[in-house]
C-alpha cells in the first residue's frame, strides 16, 4: 500500500505543482483577471491592458468594459471592428467585438448585457459567419478545458519561458510597463493591448519599433485564405441566419436602435469574392439579404464591403486587406454615428409629380414634404428629405440613376412615383411592359426599411383605358415586391389638378400624401 501511495502521491504532487504554476502565470490567458483591468483604470492617465493579461477571456473583459462605463452606444463584431473606438473624451461608447466571434457568441454576449438602458448597437456582420463550416472561438471554456490547460506541458513550458524573461511574475502576475508613450498593464512588451473602451491597440501604434501585423499573403486557395473561413461555403447557413434574427429580435425587444454593417475588404479580396465561383454567389446573396433582414426589424444597414464607400484606401489596411487601421475604423464610426443620429432619411424618387416644383404645381408643399412631416410625427424622429425626383424622368432613366446611388442605398424610407413619362402620349415607344420591367428592377434595388409606391392619376391627355392599365400595373409590381402601393389613380379627380392640367395642385398633393400615410409606417 505504501508503494501505491508513493506512486499516486508523486504523480499528484507533480501535477499539482504544474497546475499551480500554470494558474499563477496563466501563459495563454485562460483565466479572467479583473484586478489587472482595475489597475489600468486606477492609473492616471488610464493604462492599456496587455493582451497577455486578457488572453482568450474576451467575454468577461468586454462585459466588464460595458458595465464599468455609462455605455449608451456600442459596437460588436469580429476582429475587424476592434479598431472602432471612442471619440476623444467620450465615455459612453464601448467596443464589445471579439476576434473569431460568431453570431452565437454575439447573441450570448448581448443576452449578458444589462437590459436597463436603451442602447444604440453597431453590429458588424461578417459574410463568412454564414459559411456553415466556419466555427467561432469558444468564449466559455468548460471545467475540463481549464483542467487540461493547467495540467498541460505546453502551458508549463511557456510559463517557464515567461518566468525566465520576467522573474517578477513569481510575485506579481503583471506590472505597469511603458510601450512608447503609453503605459501598459502587462508582463512583457505586448504585441497587442486593449484600451479601456474595449478597442484594440497594435503595439506599433504607441511604439513604431515594435510588432506590426504581417501582410496577409493573398491566395486563391480557399482552404488557406484567411485561415480557411471561406472554405466549402456552398450555402448561406440557415442556422446562423436564424441566430442573426434572434440577435435582431433581442435588440428590438429591448428597444435598441441598431445599425448593421459589414467591414471592408481590400480591393483584391473584393474582386476575388465577387468573381469566385464558390464564394461569388454567396457573397452576392449576402449583400442582398442583409439590408432586407435588417429592414424587416426596422433597422438600417450600411454596406462597407467596398472600402471606397467609407471612404478608405488600400493603405488603410494594416495587413493588406483584412484589418483596417484606426483612421479608417474611426471613419466607419463616423458613418455609423451619422446613420444612427441623423434621424430618418426620406428619399423621394420619380418624375415631376414628386419633385413638385412650385412653378408647376403652384403649391408650397408637395406630397413628399407633407409625408415627411407626418413620418417625423409618427416616429418621433427627425426626418431629412432627399427629393431625388427629376422632372421629365421616365422609368428607364430612374433605373439607371438608382442602381449605384449610395444615397438611395442608405435611405431609411423611400417614396416612389414613376410612370407618367412612360405613357405613349408622353414618350413615343413607351409601354406598360417596359414600365413593369423597369419598376421591377428598381424595386429590386431598394433596400430601405420603408418603401412606398404610388401610381399616377389620369391627367386626361391620353386614353383613359391605357392610363388605368398603367396604374394597375404599377401597384401589381409593388405587390409582387411586398411593397405597399397607394392607389392615386382611383382617388384622384380633375379638380385636383394644378392650372397646368398636368401636375397636382396643393390639394392634389395633400390627397396623395394622405393616401401614402394610410399605408402606415411599418416597420417604424
Amino acid at each position: 500500500m505504501a508503494r501505491l501511495l508513493v506512486f499516486l502521491g508523486t504523480t499528484a504532487v507533480l501535477l499539482g505543482a504544474c497546475a499551480g504554476l500554470n494558474w499563477w502565470v496563466d501563459p495563454f490567458g485562460e483565466f479572467w483577471k479583473p484586478a489587472a483591468v482595475d489597475d489600468a483604470r486606477a492609473s492616471s492617465p488610464p493604462c492599456l491592458v496587455s493582451h497577455e493579461v486578457i488572453g482568450g477571456e474576451y467575454l468577461p473583459f468586454k462585459l466588464d468594459v460595458f458595465r464599468s462605463r455609462p455605455t449608451y452606444k456600442f459596437v460588436t463584431g469580429s476582429s475587424r471592428v476592434l479598431k472602432i473606438g471612442s471619440w476623444p473624451g467620450e465615455q459612453s461608447f464601448a467596443n464589445l467585438g471579439m476576434p473569431v466571434i460568431s453570431p452565437e457568441v454575439v447573441l450570448e454576449e448581448l443576452r449578458s448585457l444589462p437590459r436597463t438602458v436603451p442602447e444604440t448597437m453597431y453590429l458588424g456582420v461578417e459574410a463568412f459567419w454564414f459559411n456553415p463550416n466556419f466555427t467561432g472561438f469558444d468564449v466559455t471554456p468548460g471545467f475540463e478545458h481549464r483542467v487540461r490547460y493547467v495540467l498541460s506541458r505546453s502551458a508549463f513550458e511557456e510559463s517557464v519561458r515567461i518566468l525566465r524573461r520576467a522573474p517578477y511574475v513569481f510575485l506579481h502576475r503583471w506590472q505597469k510597463e511603458r510601450v512608447g508613450s503609453s503605459c501598459v498593464i502587462g508582463r512583457a512588451r505586448p504585441a497587442l493591448a486593449w484600451k479601456l473602451d474595449g478597442s484594440r491597440v497594435w503595439s506599433f501604434e504607441p511604439d513604431p519599433k515594435t510588432y506590426h501585423p504581417a501582410i496577409d499573403p493573398f491566395t486563391t486557395d480557399l482552404r488557406k485564405l484567411r485561415t480557411g473561413i471561406y472554405a466549402g461555403w456552398t450555402e448561406l447557413s440557415k442556422k446562423r441566419l436564424h441566430v442573426l434574427e434572434q440577435i435582431l429580435a433581442l435588440a428590438r425587444s429591448r428597444g435598441w436602435r441598431v445599425i448593421g454593417f459589414t467591414p471592408p475588404d481590400g480591393a483584391r479580396y473584393l474582386r476575388f469574392f465577387a468573381s469566385n465561383p464558390v464564394i461569388g454567389p454567396r457573397w452576392r446573396e449576402f449583400g442582398k439579404l442583409m439590408p432586407k433582414l435588417f429592414r424587416r426589424y426596422g433597422y438600417g444597414w450600411l454596406d462597407f464591403r467596398d472600402a471606397a464607400s467609407i471612404p478608405c484606401r488600400h493603405s488603410d489596411f494594416v495587413d493588406g486587406g483584412y484589418h483596417t487601421d484606426a483612421a479608417c475604423s474611426m471613419r466607419m464610426r463616423g458613418r455609423l454615428d451619422a446613420a444612427a443620429g441623423r434621424g430618418l432619411t426620406l428619399v423621394a424618387l420619380g418624375d415631376s409629380i414628386p419633385a413638385a416644383r412650385p412653378r408647376e404645381c403652384r403649391c408650397r408643399n408637395g406630397f413628399v414634404s407633407i409625408y415627411a412631416r407626418t413620418l417625423s410625427r409618427a416616429t418621433h424622429q427627425p426626418v431629412s428629405t432627399l427629393n431625388l425626383a427629376v422632372p421629365g424622368s421616365n422609368s428607364s432613366e430612374l433605373l439607371a440613376a438608382v442602381r449605384h446611388d449610395p444615397r438611395v442605398r442608405n435611405a431609411d424610407a423611400i417614396l416612389l412615383m414613376i410612370g407618367h413619362n412612360d405613357t405613349p402620349w408622353v414618350s413615343p415607344g413607351g409601354s406598360v411592359g417596359l414600365l413593369t420591367r423597369n419598376l421591377d428592377a428598381i424595386l429590386g434595388t431598394l433596400h430601405a426599411p420603408l418603401v412606398r409606391v404610388a401610381n399616377f392619376y389620369d391627367d386626361q391627355h391620353g386614353k383613359p383605358r391605357v392610363a388605368a392599365e398603367y396604374a394597375r400595373a404599377i401597384c401589381a409590381v409593388a405587390r409582387r415586391h411586398q411593397v405597399p402601393c397607394a392607389d392615386v389613380y382611383d382617388a384622384f379627380n380633375a379638380n385636383l389638378l394644378a392650372p397646368d392640367h398636368v401636375h397636382p395642385s396643393e390639394a392634389g398633393h395633400r390627397l396623395i400624401a394622405r393616401l401614402l400615410v394610410r399605408l402606415g409606417f411599418a416597420p417604424y
Binding site: L4, V6, T10, L15, E144, Y149, L151
Partner: protein
C-alpha cells in the same frame, strides 16, 4: 472515451475502481463493469452502445444455437448465420461506404452519371470505434463453440462482460472467451500489489503513447502530410519514424489495456513482443499484433485449408488471409495492398527457407526490418498518388534531399529502446521498490501533462 483523456483518468477510472472493490458480490461487480463499459463506449455516441448490444445479442444467441443444433449441418448453418450477421453489422458500418463508393464511381465512369446524393449518404456513415474488435471476438467465440473447444456461455452477464470489458473494447487485444471465462468465475479480492502493478503498467503505456509515439507523430506527420515534397532521406526517415510511431502507439494501448484489466484481476493476452527484432516476416507476425495474427490464423487461414492442401493452395490461403487482414484495418484499398504486401513477404520467406541459406541473424533482422518498414508506406498513405510520391522518393528518384536530423535522433533513440528494453508487459512491476515506483509516478505526471497535445490512438480508427 479515450484512455488518454482527463475524464477517463480523473473521473471514470477512479470511480469504477473504487465502486468495483466496494461491491461485495461478484455478480454485482461484473454488472458494474458491464454498465461502466457501456457508458465508456456510449460516451462518444450513444447509439454505439446499441450497436454493441445488438452484436452481443447475436453472438450470445448464436453460441446457444450452435451448441444445441442436433446435426453437424445445422451447427454449421447456425455458425454461418451468426458469423454472417456479425459481419453484416461490421460491413454496414465499416465497408458499405467503401464498396458502395467504389461501385457508384465505377458505374459513374461507365454511364457518365454521378450519384452525389448516394455518395453523400455513404460518406455520412460513421464508423463506430472498436466494432472490428468486438465483431472478431464474437465470431471467435461462436467458432470455438462450434469446434467444441468451449461450451456455450449460459450466463448473459459473463458474455456481456466478455464483449464489453472496457480495457480491450476499443482497440484490443482481441480476447478469446476461452481465456477470459475462467477468470470470470472467481471473485477477485482487492490485492494492493496487483492494483499497483496494473497502474504502473498503465502509466508506462500512457507515457509510451504521449511521450514517445506522439513525439514521433509530430515529426512524421510533418513529412507524410505532403509526400509530394519528399526526397530520399526525408521519405525513409518519415516511414521508419512512422513504423516506430505505430509500434509505440499500439503497443502503448495494449500495455494500458493489460494494466487496466490487471487492476480488476483480469489478465489479458499480450499483443507485442519486440517485433522489430524479428529475423523474418513470419517471425514478425508472431511478435506484432499477436492476437490479430493468431485470430487470422485460427479462424481464416486454417479453415481455408492452411498448408494442408499443397504449396500453391497454401500460398493462395496466405495471400487471401493477409489481404483480408489488411482490409480489416480499414475500408480502403491501401490497407488491402499493405496486407497483400505482407502476404508476399510471407511467401518469399517460405521460398527462401527452402533454399536453406545461412544468413547471419543480424542480416536477417536488418532485411526484415527494412522490408516491414517499406510496407508501412501502403499503410500510412491512402492515395495511389501519395504512395507513388513516397516510393519514388524512397528509391532515390528525387534526390537525397535534406537530412532530417531531429527525426533521425528520435528514430535512433526509439531503435535503441526497442533493441535494449524488453516489452513493458514483461517487466516485473510488482517488485518495483519505492524509488522506481516514484520514478514511474513522475513519468506518469509528465505523460498526463502531455495529453493536451496528444494525438488519437492510430488503431482507434480500425
Amino acid at each position: 472515451m479515450l484512455f488518454n483523456s482527463f475524464v477517463f483518468l480523473f473521473v471514470f477510472l477512479p470511480l469504477v475502481v473504487v465502486a468495483y472493490f466496494a461491491l461485495p458480490s461478484h455478480r454485482a461487480r461484473l454488472a458494474l463493469i458491464v454498465v461502466a463499459s457501456y457508458a465508456f463506449y456510449a460516451y462518444a455516441k450513444w447509439w454505439f452502445a446499441l450497436l454493441m448490444a445488438a452484436s452481443t445479442l447475436v453472438g450470445f444467441v448464436g453460441g446457444q444455437l450452435v451448441e444445441r443444433a442436433p446435426t453437424v449441418g445445422r451447427r454449421k448453418l447456425a455458425l454461418g448465420v451468426t458469423a454472417a450477421l456479425l459481419l453484416a453489422l461490421l460491413g454496414a458500418f465499416k465497408y458499405a461506404a467503401f464498396v458502395g463508393g467504389n461501385l457508384t464511381s465505377f458505374v459513374g465512369v461507365i454511364t457518365a452519371h454521378g450519384f452525389p446524393g448516394f455518395h453523400a449518404f455513404l460518406n455520412g456513415i460513421v464508423l463506430p470505434i472498436g466494432i472490428s474488435f468486438y465483431t472478431f471476438e464474437g465470431i471467435s467465440y461462436t467458432a470455438d463453440v462450434y469446434r467444441r473447444k468451449l461450451p456455450a456461455e449460459r450466463d448473459p452477464l459473463r458474455y456481456l462482460f466478455f464483449i464489453s470489458f472496457f480495457p480491450h473494447l476499443i482497440a484490443g487485444p482481441i480476447v478469446r472467451y476461452g481465456i477470459l471465462q475462467p477468470q470470470l468465475l472467481r471473485k477477485h479480492r482487492f490485492d494492493v500489489d496487483r492494483v499497483r502493478a496494473g497502474l504502473l503498467l498503465f502509466a508506462l503505456g500512457l507515457a509510451k503513447k504521449t511521450l514517445v509515439a506522439d513525439g514521433l507523430a509530430t515529426w512524421v506527420n510533418r513529412y507524410l502530410d505532403d509526400p509530394s515534397s519528399l526526397h530520399a532521406f526525408e521519405a525513409w526517415a518519415a516511414i521508419v519514424g512512422f513504423g516506430f510511431q505505430i509500434y509505440f502507439d499500439f503497443s502503448a494501448y495494449s500495455d494500458m489495456a493489460l494494466g487496466l484489466a490487471r487492476i480488476f484481476g483480469i489478465e489479458l493476452p499480450w499483443n507485442f513482443n519486440r517485433p522489430y527484432r524479428a529475423s523474418s516476416p513470419i517471425e514478425f507476425w508472431r511478435r506484432w499484433h499477436v492476437t490479430l495474427s493468431t485470430w487470422l490464423r485460427d479462424y481464416l487461414y486454417i479453415p481455408l485449408g492452411g498448408n494442408r492442401k499443397g504449396e500453391r493452395r497454401r500460398d493462395a490461403n496466405l495471400l487471401a488471409t493477409m489481404g483480408l487482414g489488411g482490409l480489416w484495418h480499414g475500408a480502403s484499398l491501401n490497407f488491402v495492398v499493405w496486407g497483400l504486401y505482407q502476404g508476399l513477404l510471407l511467401l518469399a520467406t517460405h521460398r527462401v527457407r527452402r533454399l536453406a541459406l545461412r544468413v547471419p541473424p543480424a542480416v536477417a533482422v536488418g532485411v526484415t526490418f527494412v522490408a516491414v518498414m517499406f510496407g508501412w508506406v501502403f499503410f500510412r498513405l491512402h492515395s495511389a498518388g501519395a504512395i507513388g510520391d513516397a516510393v519514388s522518393a524512397m528509391v532515390f528518384a528525387r534526390g537525397l534531399g535534406q537530412f532530417p536530423g531531429h527525426l533521425v535522433v528520435l528514430i535512433v533513440a526509439a531503435c535503441a529502446y526497442t533493441a535494449l528494453v524488453p516489452e513493458e508487459w514483461t517487466w516485473d512491476v510488482k517488485s518495483f521498490g519505492f524509488a522506481r515506483v516514484a520514478t514511474v509516478g513522475a513519468v506518469l505526471a509528465v505523460a498526463i501533462a502531455s495529453i493536451y497535445t496528444s494525438h488519437p490512438f492510430i488503431y482507434f480508427r480500425f
